[in-house]
Symmetry: C2
Subunit: 253 residues, 2 copies
């Protein structure tokens, strides 16, 4: 059984050349537990290339699925970033998450048969698409695959709970500090540069997600910079004093 997943071994030559941001390695990708199983399965039964797992570029502003679309695929972000959001009755949108390189997109649709939110690229990106409806046939290691999916969903639930727990009570500074750390640690987990990174999302996207006005996010980031905790250059953030940011996020001042 070879080590790399099929997306790496077969599709890497098709990488999106427009995209300047760094690409996550397959062994650091959120799909890997599933992808690796497929890799094995493929060797066993000879799945046609590109049917199960497809790599493709996504331009800034493009959506890969919309709320209420019938569920068909899981996605992994290979490069770039996405925001997920749901429309509100007042015709504004509520951002429910950001998805960075190496992270999953769409697994919440597995149970309900439709995607529960719209996913839109924040910059030129690329994704791996895993078409799940092709997986129900015989001869597949369904049990192992399901185990991988359970693991993914479990983590997602745990993460959501953490988010709820933390977010509701925090001040604006705690929220923004926590947000920076969240991005940083998520990049770190995927072996991407984590102390200097691009935030593809706008200030108001961040504010919307954190339950703050965009102006407040701007003010807080400026304040952090003045205090020497971070350096700001447009959308590029450098964390200069991670311990101080952590301290703030924890509400210890």
């Amino acid at each position: 059984m070879k080590k790399g997943s099929i997306s790496a071994s077969r599709n890497s030559s098709k990488a999106d050349t427009r995209c300047s941001s760094q690409e996550v390695e397959c062994q650091n990708c959120g799909l890997d537990p599933i992808c690796s199983i497929l890799d094995y399965a493929e060797e066993e039964s000879g799945v046609p290339d590109g049917v199960l797992l497809r790599r493709r570029p996504v331009s800034r502003g493009e959506t890969i699925f919309r709320k209420e679309d019938p569920f068909h695929s899981l996605f992994a972000v290979k490069s770039g970033s996405f925001k997920t959001y749901v429309p509100r009755f007042d015709h504004t949108d509520q951002v429910v998450g950001f998805h960075l390189a190496g992270e999953m997109l769409g697994c919440e649709g597995m149970a309900s048969e439709v995607y529960p939110y719209t996913a839109r690229a924040l910059e030129n990106s690329s994704v791996c698409e895993l078409r799940l409806e092709k997986l129900t046939g015989a001869g597949r290691p369904v049990e192992a695959l399901q185990k991988g999916i359970i693991e993914l969903l479990g983590k997602e639930v745990a993460f959501s709970h953490e988010l709820i727990a933390s977010m509701v009570h925090q001040t604006s500074e705690q929220r923004v500090a926590g947000f920076l750390l969240s991005i940083s640690s998520r990049l770190d987990r995927r072996a991407m540069p984590s102390s200097e990174f691009n935030m593809g999302m706008s200030r108001s996207d961040i504010g919307n997600f954190l339950g703050l006005a965009g102006e407040t996010v701007s003010r807080v980031l400026t304040k952090f910079q003045k205090q020497g905790m971070i350096r700001l250059k447009h959308k590029r953030v450098t964390i200069l004093d991670g311990a101080a940011v952590q301290h703030l996020a924890d509400g210890l001042d």
Copy 2:
């Protein structure tokens, strides 16, 4: 293949007699998709009574598992209610959810091997406990079971997202209105009385969960009563004008 699940057919005589609140029917219970599979499995292989699935009473204030306990079982609330919470660094607790009759408890621990929060009974209650470590043996319909778990987790994720989406931006009145509707619809889903019910949790538990001060919850509930939308009698709530509550929760005024 018989219809009812084993918890109903075998354990109903052991019901907790101290508990005055109504009990959810097995076919309306969150464990049912899994429970029914077990039922079938049992007929196939003859599992000893009470090993896999155990019914037991839980007194007010008692915990059924604590944060960081090793994961061993899924629980379904048969009667009564629970709160789940995590400790915060400042020695206060953060309530992350309430679990009513018919709802699941503990599934978030499946992935991480430990329970990610503590579950405490808000009143005298009873639960069905499904010991999952006994399920890994051969001869079980693991695939079907996993499918049930995936479904449960998927719903949980979708619910959390909804919660995040709605909560962060809402006013205190929207939050409280939404909270009342959430309880009502969850009771309705399990075929329990849904326009008049007991809220086992305290005002400050609700406030903690919603990100409000207990005093604010109290003020808002009183206001709702003065407006004739609800009737309050201690912990007992009657929804008199559901449409108005819904209207408020949606922020349409």
